[in-house]
């Protein structure tokens, strides 16, 4: 299983700012290894962020997103202590979900 994400969610003046750092190789499929064989693509395709059980952001990534993807966004609402979860799925079917409390 992939490494956990680092998620920071901070509520301020009715707006919650979320920052997520995922741990993923994000291999494009364009690169070749030292023997010249192509390295197969391996990247996150979909990401969903939920506040309690309500979706606040859904995203689709292509291989152009950097290794160990970073994402920041804001949504209205959210209060200290409430739950925020982020899930992703990659093109090999791996997935990961992490949850934090809004601070």
């Amino acid at each position: 299983m992939a490494n956990p994400m680092r998620i920071r969610a901070a509520a301020k003046d009715g707006v919650t700012e979320v920052r997520v750092l995922m741990s993923h190789v994000m291999e494009t499929g364009q690169r070749k290894d030292s023997s010249g064989a192509p390295i197969p693509a391996h990247f996150i395709t979909e990401l969903t962020a939920k506040h309690n059980d309500k979706v606040v952001l859904s995203a689709e990534f292509g291989p152009s997103v950097s290794t160990n993807p970073y994402l920041a966004f804001k949504f209205n609402g959210g209060a200290k202590g409430e739950k925020l979860s982020v899930s992703w799925v990659d093109n090999k079917g791996d997935s990961r979900t992490d949850e934090v409390q809004i601070s």
Binding site: K32, T67, S87
Partner: protein, 155 residues
């Protein structure tokens, strides 16, 4: 005392806890949608990329603002942010014109989410970065050139 070892041990037990939670089913991997936009991510030119979103030719808008460096020293990590001041912004798409696959990321924003996202992308070479925004059913875009001194694809 070896402090580094202490920290490693602590971090390790933290990870173990998360793993246990996941195994016990407290954290369920579930996703709201499954239809990855294959056509968009396979698009090899800008028209095809816009076409995959049924965007036609988006109008350039000053209300869409791209935050990206003028010169990126490392093409593997180029911070890109998009802010839309258009009301009812539903979708934000980041495209890089000269990458092998132009569409880098799409963001779907439900009501209540601020049209302000930031991420990091790879860029193979100096290129225009486009932000396409869907607001109230119409498409708008903005572009900004980012010069890359060291490519992020290949090598």
């Amino acid at each position: 005392m070896n402090n580094q070892r202490r920290d490693t041990l602590k971090a390790g037990s933290g990870l173990g806890m998360l793993g246990l939670l996941a195994a016990a089913g407290f954290i369920k991997p579930e996703l709201a949608h499954a239809a990855w936009n294959q056509a968009a991510f396979d698009a090899k030119n800008m028209d095809a990329a816009f076409g995959a979103f049924n965007a036609g030719k988006p109008a350039e808008s000053a209300d869409v603002v791209i935050t990206a460096p003028d010169i990126a020293e490392n093409g593997a990590v180029v911070p890109v942010g998009v802010v839309s001041k258009l009301p009812k912004t539903e979708q934000i798409v980041i495209l890089i014109e000269k990458n092998p696959n132009m569409v880098a990321a799409t963001f779907t924003l439900p009501e209540g989410t601020v049209a302000d996202v930031q991420t990091r992308v790879k860029m193979g070479q100096t290129s225009d970065v486009y932000a396409m925004v869907k607001a109230d059913g119409k498409f708008y875009m903005a572009k900004k050139e980012v010069k890359v001194t060291l490519g992020g694809c290949g090598g």
